[in-house]
Symmetry: C2
Subunit: 200 residues, 2 copies
Amino acid sequence: MSRLVMALQRAKRENRTSERILDIAERLVQTRGFNNFSYADIAKELGITTASLHYHFRGKAELGQALITRYAERFGDALDRIDAEIPDPRAKLEAYAGLYGGVLEGKRMCMCGVLAAEYQTLPGPMRRAVIGFFDENQRWLAGVLKQGRTDKTLAYTGSPDEVAQSILSTLEGAMLVARPYGDLARFNSTADQLLAGLTP
Amino acid sequence: MSRLVMALQRAKRENRTSERILDIAERLVQTRGFNNFSYADIAKELGITTASLHYHFRGKAELGQALITRYAERFGDALDRIDAEIPDPRAKLEAYAGLYGGVLEGKRMCMCGVLAAEYQTLPGPMRRAVIGFFDENQRWLAGVLKQGRTDKTLAYTGSPDEVAQSILSTLEGAMLVARPYGDLARFNSTADQLLAGLTP
DNA sequence: GTCTATAGGCAGATAGAC
DNA sequence: GTCTATCTGCCTATAGAC
């Protein structure tokens, strides 16, 4: 076996472990918050030691950054798929709300929503990544809203940016409040009312 | 000085310290989250030791309960004042949103909104208190919405309870998202749109 | 990549003196 | 009511062997 193949396999193996770490940490952040889980929690679930975790991520701050980066990438991919598959602006917004509803199952909520609640305790790079996630969401929503106003499939007063901020805030809040009740219907009700308010 | 007077003074002095502890802890919860501050933080700011804090509150869980109880009482008092001073349903909702906006200054957000984000890490009594706060808010909002529908000053589709849930969720989310941006205008914009959607 | 061993710090909490 | 002293446990992180 060539040196190259072995190097690739090693990279793949390492990558798989890194991804598993991120998977576990992601769930822990979304259910408990960034400051309310430890390397020990991840290590135990993964069956390795905390020392090994430091090989993959120098420290918890770096892990946190990687978490948001991957989360934002995946979310961006999901938005790209919506753009590719759904032409109608209203249906796009329904699909967008559906993304959030899906997260709420498993007692999770939006990772960046959780991080926003403990924003003041986060290291600088994580703060900027959270803001970046919100900005990207609002940019996408504003685009959909502009399209809807142009083709008259959506109606709203005020600027697309303001309404985009409002949609994001409402869905984040709906997740935040619905989760303690363990009630997905509560989230869906608020999402439905939000979309109904955009009917021409 | 009589024994009774001395006892009252002692109670008052203790009460004052307890209240100061609650004041500091309240600010810390609202800015950092319940799990992201310590007895040492409070003790340092108050100029006493952590051991003394345990005299006033047996443990952090009891402190947390007391925090929510006092917060909910004060919020209930504010709602009573709105009821007493403002007859118009729409103006009541504006005042209600104003309560939230006021909290956002000082980089705080609604205490129970923060606690909802770390809900799964809270002891049982605190969880129930958070739910109780939300329920009380929704009950009050539903009452205002019913009144508004009756006297035709507010218009909405769906049940008052559903719309009440939606209003609460939207305002909580607006605080959550606006705070990282340090932008009160962002909150006000969403609140304004929310109320505009209830115009007959 | 993963381990053992360990450092150094901070957490919540308690006993007992004053 | 507040203190000193102390405990136990958990946390992040590192050094160095395999």
